[in-house]
C-alpha cells in the first residue's frame, strides 16, 4: 500500500514537450513510473523518446487509460490545464507550476470542489509525490527515497516545502528507515491538497506506521492539522516548522510563507502540534532523530 499513487498509477504529462515536462517526465519514467503519454496542443501524433503525445487530455485518457496527470506548464496556462485534466476525468493531478496568481488558484480550487469532486489536485508549486519503488510524479530525485520494507516500520512524509521534503527523505534514508509515500503539498496560499487530506490517508494506510510533517510559517494549515491530529491520528508523529526567525511581513520565497498581523508564526504552529502530541524538532535533523526514536519504540 501507499497513499494516492502506486504501481498501478498511469500518468500523462501535460507539457511533456517543454523543458521541465520532458526532463522530469522522463526521469519519472526512468524511476519506474508508468508514464503513458504526454499532452501538448498541436503536437498530437508525435512522441518524446517513445512516449506518445496527444492534443488533449481527453484524447490521451481515451488512448492510454491514464488516471493521473503531471502538469508542468507555465503559470499563464496552468489553471486551464488543471481544469482540462479534471474535465477529462483524471482522478489525481500533480501541478508543479510555481507563480500562479492567487486569484486563479482560488477559482480553480472552488471549481474543482463544485464540478469535479472526484478529482484531487496536488499543488500547485509543489515538488510532487513519490511512493518509493512504485511511482514518482514530480521533481523529487527518486534515489534519495528509501524503499518501504516489509515486516519493518515505515514512515509517511507530508511537507509544504520542496527542499525540506528532500531533506526529510534524506534524514530517513541515512537512518535506513523506509518511506511509504512522501507528499509535497506546496507552499502556495491555496493548495489543492492540504496536510489534513494527507494525514487522513496516512492514518488509514496499513503500510504507514508513523508520520513526519514539515510545515512553515504563514496561514493556519499547521494549526488546523494539529486539531485533526488530536482527534483522528493515532500513529506517532514528528514534525519540523521552518521560519522561526523569519521577519514579519516578508514573503519568504513561497507565496504562502508570510507572518502577517502576528498570525502564522512558527512558534504558534509548534505549540499547536506539541499540544496534539506531536514530537517537534527545532531543525530537520532533530525531526529525523525524533522519528528514529519513534520507530525504535514501536518496533
Amino acid at each position: 500500500m501507499a497513499i494516492f499513487v502506486n504501481q498501478d498509477t498511469k500518468v500523462i504529462v501535460q507539457g511533456l514537450t517543454g523543458g521541465q515536462g520532458k526532463y522530469h517526465g522522463l526521469r519519472n519514467q526512468a524511476y519506474g513510473t508508468q508514464v503513458v503519454g504526454g499532452v501538448t496542443p498541436g503536437k498530437g501524433g508525435t512522441d518524446v523518446e517513445g512516449v506518445p503525445v496527444f492534443n488533449s487530455v481527453a484524447e490521451a485518457v481515451a488512448a492510454t487509460g491514464a488516471n493521473a496527470s503531471f502538469i508542468a506548464v507555465p503559470p499563464k496556462a496552468a489553471s486551464a490545464a488543471i481544469l482540462e485534466a479534471a474535465a477529462a476525468g483524471i482522478a489525481f493531478i500533480v501541478c508543479i507550476t510555481e507563480g500562479i496568481p492567487a486569484q486563479d488558484e482560488a477559482k480553480v480550487f472552488n471549481t474543482l470542489i463544485r464540478d469535479y469532486p472526484k478529482t484531487r489536485l496536488l499543488g500547485p508549486n509543489c515538488p510532487g509525490i513519490i511512493s518509493p519503488g512504485k511511482c514518482n510524479i514530480g521533481i523529487t530525485a527518486g534515489e534519495i527515497a528509501e524503499l518501504p520494507k516489509a515486516g519493518k516500520k515505515n514512515v509517511g512524509i507530508v511537507s509544504r516545502s520542496g527542499t525540506l521534503t528532500y531533506q526529510a527523505l534524506y534524514e530517513l534514508k541515512q537512518r535506513g528507515i523506509g518511506v511509504s509515500t512522501c507528499v509535497g503539498i506546496g507552499g502556495d496560499p491555496v493548495p489543492g491538497t492540504n496536510f489534513i487530506d494527507c494525514l487522513r490517508e496516512f492514518q488509514n494506510d496499513p503500510e504507514t506506521d508513523a508520520i513526519i510533517m514539515i510545515g512553515e510559517i504563514g496561514g493556519s494549515a499547521e494549526e488546523e492539522a494539529a486539531e485533526f491530529i488530536k482527534a483522528n491520528v493515532t500513529k506517532p508523529m514528528s514534525a519540523y516548522i521552518a521560519g522561526v526567525t523569519a521577519p514579519a511581513g516578508k514573503k519568504m520565497g513561497h507565496a504562502g510563507a508570510i507572518v502577517s498581523g502576528g498570525k502564522g508564526t512558527a512558534q504558534g504552529k509548534m505549540d499547536a502540534l506539541r499540544a496534539a502530541g506531536v514530537k517537534v524538532g527545532l531543525n530537520p535533523t532533530e525531526a529525523g532523530d525524533l522519528m528514529a526514536e519513534i520507530i525504535k519504540s514501536i518496533s
Binding site: 492567487a102 521560519g243 521577519p247 507565496a255
Partner: protein, 383 residues
C-alpha cells in the same frame, strides 16, 4: 508588493472607487501646487508603508498655501519608525460625518474570498476586533460566483451601516471587489470609508497589496515596482533575479529552496548567530547563479561569514561545486565560506571543491547543516 497610499488611491480610481481630489508631491513647491489645484483646506499626508503616521506628525491639515508649505517642509524627510518620507500626498480635506471599514482578502483556511465590513471605521480594525468583535461582519464569497450587488447590499445592512449610506457603501463594495479580483490584490482595504454630510460615500485611505504572481498580466504595475522600498542589497539581488530578503545579521546565507533557506536562518539562530539575509537560489544552481548570489552577499558590509547550504535533489552536487569554483574566480570575497553539500552527487561535489586548491581561509566544507552552521557562526563571531 505593498502600495503606498497614493498609489492605492490611483489604483482604486481605475476601478471607479471615489477618492478625494489630490496628488503626490516630492517637493514643497509641488505640494503647494497640488494643494492650490485641489482646493483648500487640504490634508498633507506622509507616504510611508508603516502604521501610526498620524501620531508621528505625518498627517496635517492646511488651510492655505503658507500652511501647506510649512507642513510639507516638516513632513518631507521626516523619519517615521525608520521610514524616511520621500513623498507626500496632498488632497482636498473631506468633511466627515461617519467612518466605516471595508476590506477584501483571501481566507486561506476557508479557501474563499473574505469581506470584512464594519460601521466602526477610522481606527485599527484589530482594535475593533478585540473590543467589539460583533461590530465586524465577515462574509465568505465563492470566487467562482463573485459578489453580487444584492449580496453587497445585504452585507451592508448586516454591518448596521445606516440607511442613508447603504447604497453608497454597497456600490463601493462591488467596485472594491472588482479591484481585489481583476486587480489581483492580496488585500484591498479602505479605512476609513467615509460618509460626507452631502451623502456621498468615498475612500479616505487606501491599503493595497498586490499579488506578485500576477505581475505578468499587469504591465501597469511597473510604475509601482519603481518606487518599491528596497534596500540597496535587495535592489542588486533583483537585478540578478534572485529571491533575496535583507536582514540585520552577520552570517550571509545562500540555500536552494525557500524552505531550506528559512531552515538555514533558523539553525544559524539556534547556534547563536544572526543571518544577514534570506537567499533562495532555487533549483539548478549553476555558476552564473552562484556568482550572482555571492556578489550580492559580498556587497553587504555587515557579512563576516557566508553559509552555503545546498541539498541536492534535482540540483546536483557537482554542478554546485563547479559553480562555486567558477564564481570564486570571478568574485573576490570579503568573508570566508562554510559549505554544507548534501544529497544527489554530494561526494563528487565535495571532491571538486577539495581538488580546486581553495585555501581554508576562503572555504570550509562541513558534512551536516548543524556543523556548518556552528562553523559559520564561530567565524562570524570572531571565535
Amino acid at each position: 508588493m505593498d502600495l503606498f497610499e497614493y498609489q492605492g488611491k490611483q489604483y482604486f480610481a481605475r476601478f471607479d472607487i471615489p477618492v478625494s481630489p489630490g496628488g503626490a508631491a516630492d517637493t514643497v513647491d509641488e505640494a503647494v501646487k497640488v494643494a492650490d489645484a485641489s482646493g483648500y483646506p487640504v490634508v498633507v499626508k506622509a507616504q510611508v508603508q508603516v502604521g501610526g503616521r498620524g501620531k508621528a506628525g505625518g498627517i496635517k491639515l492646511a488651510n492655505n498655501a503658507e500652511e501647506t508649505r510649512f507642513h510639507a517642509n516638516n513632513i518631507l524627510g521626516m523619519d517615521i519608525k525608520g521610514h524616511v518620507v520621500k513623498r507626500v500626498w496632498v488632497e482636498h480635506a473631506s468633511d466627515i460625518e461617519e467612518e466605516y471599514y471595508a476590506s477584501f482578502t483571501l481566507d486561506r483556511a476557508a479557501k474563499k474570498h473574505l469581506l470584512m465590513l464594519s460601521a466602526q471605521g477610522g481606527v485599527e480594525i484589530e482594535e475593533v476586533a478585540e473590543k467589539d468583535p460583533d461590530a465586524i461582519i465577515k462574509l465568505h464569497i465563492d470566487p467562482v460566483d463573485g459578489l453580487s450587488a444584492a449580496a453587497a447590499h445585504k452585507a451592508a445592512v448586516d454591518a448596521k451601516i445606516p440607511a442613508k449610506a447603504l447604497d453608497g457603501v454597497a456600490k463601493i463594495l462591488v467596485q472594491l471587489y472588482r479591484c481585489f479580483t481583476e486587480g489581483d490584490c492580496d488585500l484591498a482595504e479602505i479605512n476609513p470609508l467615509i460618509l460626507k454630510p452631502t451623502g456621498e460615500v468615498h475612500a479616505l485611505d487606501a491599503k493595497v497589496s498586490l499579488d506578485d504572481n500576477a505581475d505578468f498580466r499587469h504591465p501597469e504595475w511597473a510604475e509601482y515596482r519603481a518606487t518599491e522600498e528596497l534596500d540597496s542589497r535587495e535592489q542588486l539581488a533583483r537585478t540578478h533575479g534572485l529571491q533575496y530578503i535583507g536582514l540585520d545579521g552577520t552570517v550571509g546565507i545562500i540555500a536552494n529552496g525557500a524552505g531550506l533557506a528559512m531552515s538555514t536562518l533558523d539553525v544559524v539562530n539556534q547556534v547563536g548567530g544572526t543571518a544577514a539575509n534570506f537567499l533562495d537560489i532555487g533549483g539548478g544552481a549553476n555558476a552564473d547563479v552562484m556568482a550572482a548570489a555571492l556578489e550580492v552577499i559580498n556587497f553587504d558590509d555587515k557579512v563576516t561569514s557566508i553559509f552555503i547550504n545546498i541539498f541536492g535533489g534535482i540540483t546536483r552536487g557537482e554542478e554546485v561545486a563547479k559553480g562555486i569554483v567558477e564564481a570564486l574566480s570571478r568574485v573576490t570575497l570579503k568573508a570566508p565560506i562554510v559549505i554544507r553539500l548534501d544529497g544527489t552527487n554530494a561526494e563528487e561535489g565535495r571532491k571538486i571543491l577539495a581538488d580546486a586548491g581553495i585555501p581554508e581561509s576562503t572555504l570550509i566544507s562541513k558534512p551536516t547543516m548543524l556543523e556548518a552552521a556552528r562553523a559559520a557562526v564561530a567565524i562570524s563571531n570572531g571565535k
